[in-house]
Symmetry: C2
Subunit: 398 residues, 2 copies
Amino acid sequence: MTDDASAPTHPSEDWFIDADTHITEPPDVWVDRVPARFRDRVPHVERSADGVDQWVLDGQPFYNIGLTAVAGWPEPFPGGPRNYDECHPAAYDPAARLAYMDDEGIWAQVLYPNVASFGGQRFLSFPDDELKLVCVRAYNDFLRDWAAADPRRLVTIMSTPFWDVDAAVAEVRRGAEAGHRGILFTGEPHRFGLPFLADRHWDPLWATAQDLGLPVHFHIGSGDTASSFTPERVAATSTAATFAYTAIEMFLKNGLQVADLLMSGILPRFPDLQFVSVESGIGWIPFVLEAVDHNYREGRVDRTSEWDRMPSEYFATNVYACYWFETAATTEMLGLLPADRILFETDFPHPTCLYGNVHERMEASLAGVPEYVRRKILWDNGAALYGIAAPEPAPVRA
Amino acid sequence: MTDDASAPTHPSEDWFIDADTHITEPPDVWVDRVPARFRDRVPHVERSADGVDQWVLDGQPFYNIGLTAVAGWPEPFPGGPRNYDECHPAAYDPAARLAYMDDEGIWAQVLYPNVASFGGQRFLSFPDDELKLVCVRAYNDFLRDWAAADPRRLVTIMSTPFWDVDAAVAEVRRGAEAGHRGILFTGEPHRFGLPFLADRHWDPLWATAQDLGLPVHFHIGSGDTASSFTPERVAATSTAATFAYTAIEMFLKNGLQVADLLMSGILPRFPDLQFVSVESGIGWIPFVLEAVDHNYREGRVDRTSEWDRMPSEYFATNVYACYWFETAATTEMLGLLPADRILFETDFPHPTCLYGNVHERMEASLAGVPEYVRRKILWDNGAALYGIAAPEPAPVRA
């Protein structure tokens, strides 16, 4: 970290791109952005008698805002701030976010939700289809408003009404116009009674995303998570053990979703479409690629691919994945991973995020990694994927 | 391969231990081994009009024997022999199995089921509790009969009536007397309405297994597999793609079961108890261990373990895992894996098993691996785990 105006001009030597962070949605997301007749029906925040800020729908609290805004909080999950006043302001306020990014040398952050779940699947539980769509649109509008603090540095990933593929296509077109740089999707549509990922049902969405150059994102926890963190499991173990188990379940489910994607035929049909596995880690990738190729080959009459290439080869051209806590993966496994496909993230301000130790963890993960690979992971890959321009001239950091 | 009587005396230089194979159960397993009053109610084999040998229970065919006896069969899954006559005889006949093992340089094989599912969970669907128990016991008796062809070389893993922990303890004690060298268990008891793996409910079983020195085995596919290989997924993709997807799901589910085990507190409570992840591959292990430690630490107030060691460290003393198709894993990842914990397997005679290419795949996976590690993987680890004695003097192979 330097305040020297003669700092290196290539941003990757000083600034990096953070490929996965979350916004602690402020209270006005929906109430200020839906037509008047919906205003009383959308999620809003109420503070409980004991000072807990909760999202409420139809009179029912369904999400404590502090649960996923814990950066810097001393107690582990499920501890956390009770309300916005106790949160790190960078969780919900874009100016504070940019100041935090300056402090950490983060030039750009990719922004994901909390309230509507990591695949936007909570919208599905809203009472009627019109309300669902209105709320998806309002969320996407909110994201652009938030990013207006510095659209170069705040990269927004839009939600979709994925339960209606035509509506999803229309919203993606609208979102591209508005400046969104990616699409949030569920990695397990079949868990919601929708067609499998491979089903041609989704082709209009993939075609639109490809046309618009918008990558599709599978954030962990984008599927059915109902059976993961249960009171029964906590009772049999502990909160900490259940928390860790649930994390592994989410990571490995993304591994399975990547296998599903590689087996779907989507990538041969849409060769320019990009997918991103977010917050999943990367250490499972070499295994999944080798296992997919082996089992697919063994299942085919002629032991060759029905497509131009083997499944794993599509990963190397069409799939990205993000890591943060791993150190072994990058130093020992990079020989097995395409370096063009790896993104670094902090997951701010979530439980287990890198906070206060960002550079320490980053350096631990990149020890012994060649400079050109380091640059790909910290800058080039994200810059190319999201169209992030290097600051010119490089701004001086405080 | 040599027929020279002066071949190296240490068996690992010539013979290896195959840690996962399956028996294509012959027709007499149950009908010849249950009390007379059950004889008409247990699974038996009927040949259909088109020559397909099927296991039948209560008049309903439920398993085609050729589905999992495909070694050497030219067509991929779901192709396969119609009946015993078309199977490789080593699938179902112990003398033929030993001859095949001689040909391949396999000194010992560990033997798993087909008909009762890979965790023995099909017994659960049998009509009543008495019949379930009778069938488990008959299966275990059958295994010992089959292994009598050479008990030194045919290592049997007993099933248990795991839906009744007291009955399971009694059967494990009976099985140990009979010569079984391990216990088959489901990695997901909670999927069958039973307590979580971590629940103290299971402690009598773990205590018994520890007392008797019997390792507990999680073979892939030991949980709820109902939603894996579905006609809907095949319709959306292809048989080969669904086959590969399902394989990855089974492998990664074992990864999750290992995480569950490490978070269960079982290993600190039963420090001499051993678990084996069978047919799961090994390439996901470094990731799962790092991810478990990170997330567990972050979930704890003091960022330390509630046990003597971190979860990953228990893997290194209490968990084994078996691989077969991976080549990258052993050469590139061995720095991240405890070599004492890795077993090599062929999965004979299953789809995707190593057959006709056993030594080619083995050598590809061990290229560049130090000799002492090779020896651990091919001999020492399995010999120690199952008490397999080296042949003295080394037999001469034909």
